[in-house]
């Protein structure tokens, strides 16, 4: 185990603060100077001055304002007639748009595209858009919306997936799916029944999770400018997947992709909610084409809620079998998910819930029955840690309960079953590197979990849970195996170092991370790097910000792109220094011989020579994830949806929450959280810890308060931050983040893995387990509201009184 702190090794040149046993420093690829530096984000100063430009901060000459008319009467209804004539006649109104003018279907997953820009024949959820206008100002646009007359014929609103399946013979949400089931799949690995029969301990439980929403503070905003003279469309939008958006825009507007440019300004948070196209983007583009003027459409907060594609509510059954020696032998998982109105990421999230069962413990036999069912509710989609948090809740809570059955500590049970580096799961998912056990050890030790668990006074409790998450997907949604990320590096005396890649910083910090990678790979300083990102025209292809993929993807591509540039500079330096190019090292603006450090020249001088002789140096690097078959590793059989969940590598973490339950009010307060995470090399330790802290508070919200409430008629009852409660500074627990700073995945670029979604995984079960420790009541549902706590306490009391009598 290494014990060096990368934060101390800001610049390694001439310092001996870090020595890895058995590896001469000049050959040590882990001896980074720019990766592992805690630097402020590249855009932090602009943001704090209020100068960073977000989409709604933009205006263009002659710009019009767009607004969308929404169905506020019903959650499910046929559209009989839309009359826009009065709106069009209103002075200041330039154009009106209805669904039939843009009938091409869009969606993030190509084979399940089923959304149109505006509803055409019927509305399927409360608040769905039915028409859009572009007007001289917002007031006029709003007035125009009131003049649009829509006639509906109401249909029964199906608000629960079980009801939706049961009543499919009577009400169908999408004609394409007569059973109202959007997707379903069975994944069977090994022989689950046989394994259960041989188990000593078997437990089965049912779980339910709520319907949280992303809660990014910046509402979606899109500004489109169509140039009628050259037929080109330019869209600026708050979105986290510019290239998916690009593709969808082309499908809907029928403008070739080469004539569409997508630019992403600064993004005020996404968390998956901006991880696909959004109707305001299409509407702005089409209205701009209709009017020949730029059009901006910014959502009100309520519209963000209506159109949100939040986390899938899940109704789960899980059965776990453990043998007499304490090893998990089988898991049976059944998940009925609430899809809401449209397909969105549904098929992907569904199969993720199946694959997430396979880690972070070794489980030889796993069976998942999965279905994702349409309802007349806001569509569920991608939300931070997608597909992971629901099965994680089930498994970690059950292991806590089973440890109790077995008379051992949950820590012991989890340590015993934890995966290790080089593990291949039953579904062929491969874990090249993990420090999961060390996460468990560290968090347990730092929190004194073993001393406290089961020993705190009534009302106070401590709970442990672990988790993992992918570092990117192995597959695109395109069914195309092209590289997922391309990076172009440019070096010359004029511009210095420039990195181009249309990856999207939504606050998580990839702009900074890619600059650090570039600096490390080229041997310069982070401060020297210009980043050209978030633009489909000036920057290169990147799949987008989701699945915690960017650190791994950009790191790999940057490394590859740096190679030809370094090679050229080494050749130049080799000639001057009189030594072989392959014995040279480039670091901290110097090129020197690894054997004779006196043979050195400045990097800038070499660049000057290169620029003068061969011109600007350019390097291109691609990232394609390793492909693995989605099969049962024992039988070799292909498994439906089995490709989903594979990742180049995985991050791991453990969280220990300490809670206080107020038995008078039923309120749960998380007082202290001790976390230990394996993210490989933390590229920017300060930002990485910030991701973890943010993750904990984020999912604490969905564990305790956050839930979108839909009325009996399908109305959204809390589409605002007043009634939809998110954690504030007052709810923040004390957080102790113990990132394993010396973790290093040798298969990952610079040793780095994901962090921004892994850290949300253990939060639900850690809190749930802590509540059990506090009051002896196990909840199998989140959010755990004060009402639930009070009811359960009352029942417990009655039961105890009953038993005593």
């Amino acid at each position: 185990m290494q014990t060096w702190d990368k934060r101390e090794t800001e610049v390694t040149e001439g310092k001996s603060s870090y020595v890895r046993e058995g590896v001469p420093s000049y050959l040590d690829e882990r001896r980074h100077s720019q990766v592992g530096r805690s630097v402020p984000k590249v855009d932090a100063a602009a943001k704090v001055r209020g100068e960073a430009v977000y989409a709604d901060d933009m205006t263009l000459p002659n710009m019009l304002y767009g607004k969308i008319k929404r169905c506020k009467e019903y959650a499910h209804a046929k559209i009989k007639k839309i009359d826009c004539s009065k709106a069009l006649a209103l002075p200041g109104v330039f154009a009106v748009l209805t669904g039939d003018e843009a009938p091409n279907k869009w969606g993030i997953v190509p084979h399940s595209c089923n959304e149109t820009v505006l509803a055409i024949d019927k509305v399927r959820f409360y608040g769905e858009g039915v028409a859009a206008v572009a007007a001289i100002d917002e007031e006029t646009a709003e007035a125009a919306l009131d003049l649009i007359e829509v006639e509906y014929e109401p249909l029964p609103a199906l608000l629960d997936p079980f009801e939706s399946m049961a009543r499919a013979n009577e009400v169908v949400i999408h004609e394409t799916n007569p059973d109202n089931i959007a997707f379903h799949g069975n994944q069977i690995y090994g022989d689950v029944d046989k394994a259960f029969a041989e188990c000593e301990y078997v437990l089965e439980r049912e779980f339910k999770t709520g319907m949280p929403q992303h809660g990014f503070i910046e509402p979606q905003s899109a500004l489109a400018s169509f140039d009628p003279h050259n037929g080109r469309l330019h869209l600026w939008s708050s979105n986290q997947v510019p290239h998916y958006l690009h593709r969808q825009l082309s499908i809907v507007t029928e403008i070739p992709m080469s004539k569409i440019r997508v630019t992403i300004p600064t993004v005020g948070g996404g968390f998956g909610g901006k991880g696909e196209a959004c109707p305001n983007e299409f509407a702005a583009c089409i209205l701009s084409r209709k009017t020949g003027r730029p059009v901006k459409i910014t959502y009100e907060r309520s519209e963000v809620f209506f159109t949100s594609k939040g986390r899938h509510p899940c109704h789960m059954k899980m059965k776990i079998g453990i043998d007499k020696d304490g090893y998990i032998q089988a898991v049976d998982f059944d998940n009925t998910m609430d899809k809401g109105a449209y397909a969105s990421w549904g098929v992907v999230v569904m199969f993720y819930t199946g694959s997430m069962v396979h880690l972070p413990y070794k489980i030889p036999n796993v069976r998942s029955y999965l279905r994702n069912v349409y309802t007349n509710k806001p569509s569920s989609g991608a939300l931070r840690g997608l597909g992971g948090v629901q099965p994680r809740l089930a498994m970690e809570v059950m292991l806590d309960e089973m440890a109790e059955m077995m008379g051992i500590s949950p820590y012991e049970l989890k340590m015993k079953n934890a995966v290790v580096s080089g593990y291949t799961a039953a579904n062929n998912m491969y874990v090249p590197h993990t420090e999961y056990k060390r996460c468990l050890e560290t968090a347990v030790e730092k929190s004194s979990y073993l001393e406290k668990h089961g020993k705190l006074p009534f009302g106070k409790g401590i709970g442990l849970a672990g988790g993992n998450y992918i570092s990117g997907t192995a597959y695109t949604l395109y069914q195309n195996y092209k590289p997922h990320t391309t990076v172009v590096l440019r070096v010359d005396t004029e511009g210095g170092v420039t990195v181009q890649c249309a990856c999207t910083d939504i606050g998580q910090g990839v702009d900074t991370v890619i600059a650090q990678f570039t600096a490390e790979a080229l041997g310069v300083y982070f401060e020297d790097v210009h980043v050209v990102v978030r633009d489909t025209e000036t920057a290169t292809f990147d799949l987008g910000t989701f699945a915690s993929r960017l650190t791994y993807a950009t790191g790999t591509a940057v490394k590859a792109a740096a190679e030809p540039i370094n090679q050229k500079l080494k050749e130049i330096a080799g000639q001057k220094l009189g030594c072989r190019a392959d014995q040279l090292i480039i670091k901290d603006h110097k090129i020197y011989s690894m054997y004779e450090t006196k043979k050195t020249m400045s990097w800038d001088e070499a660049v000057d020579i290169a620029t003068s002789t061969v011109g600007t140096l350019v390097g291109v690097g691609h990232f394609s994830p390793p492909r693995r078959k989605g099969i049962d590793i024992v039988t070799g059989n292909r498994i439906q949806g089995g490709n989903i969940g594979h990742s180049p590598t995985f991050g791991f973490s453990c969280q220990i929450h300490e809670v206080e339950v107020d038995v008078e009010t039923g309120r749960i307060r998380v007082k202290k959280v001790t976390e230990a995470g394996d993210m490989g090399t933390p590229v920017n330790p300060m930002a990485a810890d910030g991701q973890v802290e943010g993750s904990i508070v984020y999912n604490m919200g969905a564990a305790l308060y956050e839930d979108q409430v839909i009325g009996a008629d399908g109305r959204h009852l809390n589409p605002n931050f007043h009634d939809y409660k998110m954690p504030t500074s007052m709810e923040m627990p004390d957080m102790f983040i113990n990132t394993l700073k010396d973790s290093y995945d040798p298969t990952a670029p610079f040793g780095a893995k994901e962090t921004g979604e892994g850290a949300v995984q253990p939060t639900f079960p850690a809190i749930t387990n802590a509540v059990y420790d506090a009051i002896g009541i196990r909840f199998y549902q989140v959010p755990i509201t004060p009402e639930m706590v009070l009811r359960a306490l009352k029942e417990k009391k009655e039961k105890e009184a009953g038993c005593g009598a």
Binding site: G50, D57, H214, F216, I217, G268, F271, F721, T728
Partner: protein
Amino acid sequence: MKQQISLDINGRVYDLVISHRDLLVDVLRKKLGLTGTKKGCGNGDCAACTVQVDGEPTLSCLTLAISCQGKKIITVEGLAQPGGALHPIQEAFVNQGAIQCGYCTPGMVMSAKALLDKNPKPTLEEIKLAISGNLCRCTGYKRIIEAIEIAAATMSAQEVK
């Protein structure tokens, strides 16, 4: 009905023609191009739109512009120090990693400033309370609170206003 008014914003007086219903946040953002002030909800629930009006932290999305006549308005743009240096609160936010997406940041900074103007040495609880109306979805608040603590210390040492 439209009316001509003057607003004192960041020490500069702007003459404006506005309607009675115009909200301060819209006047700042749309009429004056002071887009540093953000609008996250338009309902008084997120405090991204916080500015100072006569020193008080004020939600500009709930404030009629017309009611600010004769008052001193300070927005995030007004924190700029001579030579473009960052205000100590801003500096601390940058250095502590208190900024992720940054959408809450101007409002947070303005709430922090209003606190420190009145109470240069706040306790941890006072800091938490002062920003309890400001939603941040990214950071988990920890680094924001630390940044405000550091800024308080720096400002007391430097006597910055």
